[in-house]
Subunit: 371 residues, 2 copies
C-alpha cells in the first residue's frame, strides 16, 4: 500500500501515563486502518497501518495524539473517510476527535455550494446578521402553517425553515404544504417589500430526500433543511452536488451523542463546523449557549470560527445558533457573534404578545440597527 | 391533532429529586413533539404534546420516565420516528433511551427479510452457531483477498464478510474484487463440500450502496455488509425492502457514541437489537465483551436476547459478537450465548500458525461438536 501520502487526525485520549497513552495511540492507529494484529499484516502492507506522529500531555489524565493515515485507506470516498476517522474507535471509551487535516478534507469534499456569500446574495443583504425562524408546531394544518409563514414574511424575516419535526405527516403533507407556504411567503414579501427565503424540511429516506428537494425547487422554495445525522451525511453531500442548486441548512437532530460527551465522539467545532461544512451545509444550526441545551459560550464561538474559517479550501458556512435565543437577548448575541451569523429564534417570537409580524419587525430592527 | 393513538418511549434521566425528574420529563415530552413553549401551542394542538405517563426512581440520581407520543407525530415515517425518539434531546445531557414500544415499531418497520431462519436456510444449518470471518486487511490486492477467501471457504466457514474498512479503494476496487472473491469462494466450496456465504461491504453514498448491492447480487454474492450509522439506517431499510432479496449484516462502525455513554444516547440492546433489527438487519455485529471493546457480558446478553425476541412482530436477527473473540474461547462463548449466534472471528484466525484453512476447520469443529 502506498503510504507516501497521508492525512492527520488528532484525538484526545484518556490515559494515566505516557506508556498507556502510547498504547492507546497505537491501538487507534491499527483499529482505524488494517484492523488486525500488526504481526498478521504482510510486510508490504504495513505501510497502510496508521502512524502515531506526536503525543502531547494535556493534563493528568488526558493527552492529544496525532495519527497519520495513508490516503489510500480512503481514496477520495467521504463515507469511508468518516469510517477511518472514528469507525470502530467510536466503540471504545476515552477517544475523541479534536482536529483533522483540513487540506485533505477539502481535497475530497467540495463544501457548501452557496456558503455565506451565496446566501447573502440571494437576500441582497451583506453587512448584518440574518434572521431566521421555524414554522411550527407539528400537527398544525397547512393553512395554519401558511398563515404563520405569511406573518413572518410580512414582518420581513430573512429565512423561514420548517421545524425539523415537520416531515410528511398527514396533518400537513409535504407537497401541498410546501406549495401553499411558498405562496403565502410571496404574499408576505409583497407586504414587506423584501425577500424571505423558505427552507422546507426534506429529511427522510434517500428517495424521499431527493424527491422532496426536487419538488421544493420546482415549487419555488429557496433551499432545504436536512438533519444529516438522520439521513447520513453523504445524503447532504449528494444534494449539495446535485443540479438542484439549492442552499442547505443542516439541523443537529440526533447528533448530540456524537458531540456532547467530552471524552468521546467528535468535538462540536470539528463535527459541525468542519465535517458538516465539508459535506455541503451552507448553514449549520447548533444549540446556542444560555438556552435549554448544554453547549457553553466557548464551544459556540469555536463552531462559529470553524464555520467561517477562510483558510480552508471551501466556502464558509453560516453558523446558525438556535434553541432558546430570546428576543430580548438578540443584541447581546449580535455583539458576541458578529455579522456573519444567522440567528434562529422560534419560541420567543411565538410568545410575542403583539403577534408574529410585529415580533419579526422588532427582531429585524435589532439586526439592521448598527448599534 | 389526533392524540388517541400513542406509542411509548422510556428514558433514563439524571435528576437529583422528583420535582427535577418531573421537570426534565416534561421538557422531553415537549422537545420531542411540538418543540415550543406549551403556552404558545394552540388549544386544539395540545394533544400533540408528549405525555409523561410514569416516573420511577432508579437510584439517588437516576429515574426512568415513560413518555407517550401521538403516532400522528410520525405517521409511519421511520426516519421521523428516530427524530421523535431522540432528535433534539440527544443534545441535552443525561437523557438515554432504555425502552420503546415494540408493537408500534413493528407496525412501521418490517424488520429483517431473512432473519435467523432465513440465513440458516441459505446454509442448511439449523442447530448450531454459525462461523464468520472478515476479509482483510485493507490495502491487500484483489488476488490476496481472493486467496484468503479461498482458504476460508476451503476450511468450511459459514460466512465471510468484507472488513468494514474495505470499500472501493484502488487497491481492490469493489466490482472486480467482489467478482473475483465470489469465484474463489466457489472453488473453496468445492473443496469443503459445504456452502460459504459472502457478504461484501456496500457502505457508501446512497447511490453507491444501491449500485454495489445490485452488482453484488448479480455477481453471486449472498448478502451485503453495511454500516448503518455511516449511511443512515433508512438506507439499510430500503435495501431490505428492495427486490434484491439479499440478507444484510449491520456493522457498528461510527455508532459507538450513540450507545457507549451510559447517560446519553440509546442503550445498545435497544439501538442494535431492536432499532437496527427493525430497519432490516438480518445479522447485527456488536463488540463482544472481553475483547478490546468496552461492552460487558450483561450488555452483550441483552443485545442477544433483544435480537432474538420472538414476541415482536418481526423476524429475529442473528446477534453477531465480534472484535477480539479468540479461537481458544469459542467454546466458552458458545456455552454463554447459545446456538442462535454468529461468531465473528478475525485477527485470531489470521494468527493461527498453520494457516487460515486449518484455523477455520478447528473453529468449525468447535461449533459443530455438541459439547
Amino acid at each position: 500500500m502506498d503510504s507516501s501520502s497521508t492525512f492527520s487526525v488528532t484525538y484526545k485520549i484518556v490515559a494515566d501515563s505516557l506508556p498507556a497513552a502510547e498504547e492507546i495511540s497505537e491501538s487507534i492507529a491499527v483499529e482505524q486502518s488494517v484492523e488486525m494484529p500488526p504481526a498478521t499484516v504482510a510486510k508490504h502492507l504495513k505501510g497502510g497501518i496508521g502512524r502515531v506522529e506526536r503525543i502531547k500531555r494535556i493534563d493528568d489524565t488526558s493527552w492529544e495524539t496525532e495519527i497519520h493515515f495513508s490516503t489510500s485507506l480512503v481514496d477520495g470516498d467521504p463515507v469511508q473517510f468518516l469510517n477511518v476517522l472514528l469507525g470502530n474507535s467510536s466503540l471504545k471509551p476515552g477517544i475523541r476527535i479534536v482536529d483533522l487535516d483540513k487540506s485533505y478534507l477539502s481535497s475530497i469534499l467540495d463544501g457548501p455550494s452557496f456558503g455565506i456569500s451565496g446566501i447573502r446574495t440571494l437576500l441582497n443583504v451583506f453587512n448584518r446578521p440574518l434572521s431566521c425562524t421555524a414554522l411550527k408546531p407539528v400537527g398544525s394544518s397547512i393553512k395554519e402553517l401558511a398563515d404563520k409563514a405569511f406573518q413572518f414574511a410580512s414582518g420581513g424575516i430573512d429565512l423561514i425553515k420548517d421545524d425539523h419535526g415537520i416531515a410528511n405527516q398527514s396533518s400537513a403533507p409535504f407537497k401541498e404544504r410546501v406549495a401553499t407556504v411558498c405562496k403565502a411567503i410571496e404574499k408576505g414579501e409583497q407586504k414587506s417589500g423584501k425577500k424571505t427565503l423558505y427552507f422546507p424540511n426534506v429529511t427522510g429516506s434517500p428517495r424521499e430526500v431527493t424527491d422532496r428537494a426536487r419538488f421544493a425547487k420546482e415549487t419555488g422554495a429557496d433551499g432545504v433543511l436536512i438533519s444529516p445525522q438522520l439521513t447520513g451525511p453523504a445524503q447532504m453531500r449528494d444534494l449539495a452536488a446535485s443540479d438542484l442548486n439549492l442552499p442547505i441548512m443542516a439541523h443537529p437532530a440526533f447528533s448530540g451523542s456524537i458531540v456532547n460527551h467530552k471524552q468521546n465522539g467528535i468535538s462540536a467545532e470539528i463535527y459541525y463546523g468542519l465535517i458538516w461544512r465539508a459535506f455541503g451545509a451552507d448553514s449549520i444550526v447548533y444549540p446556542n449557549a444560555g438556552g435549554r441545551f448544554s453547549f457553553d459560550l466557548a464551544e459556540c464561538k469555536s463552531i462559529n470560527l470553524m464555520c467561517r474559517d477562510k483558510n480552508i479550501g471551501m466556502a464558509p458556512s453560516f453558523p446558525t445558533p438556535g434553541g432558546g435565543i430570546e428576543r430580548s437577548t438578540v443584541h447581546k448575541w449580535k455583539q458576541e457573534y458578529g455579522p456573519d451569523t444567522i440567528f434562529l429564534i422560534g419560541g420567543s417570537l411565538y410568545q410575542h404578545p403583539k403577534g408574529l409580524e410585529i415580533a419579526v419587525t422588532e427582531f429585524q430592527q435589532k439586526l439592521v440597527n448598527n448599534e
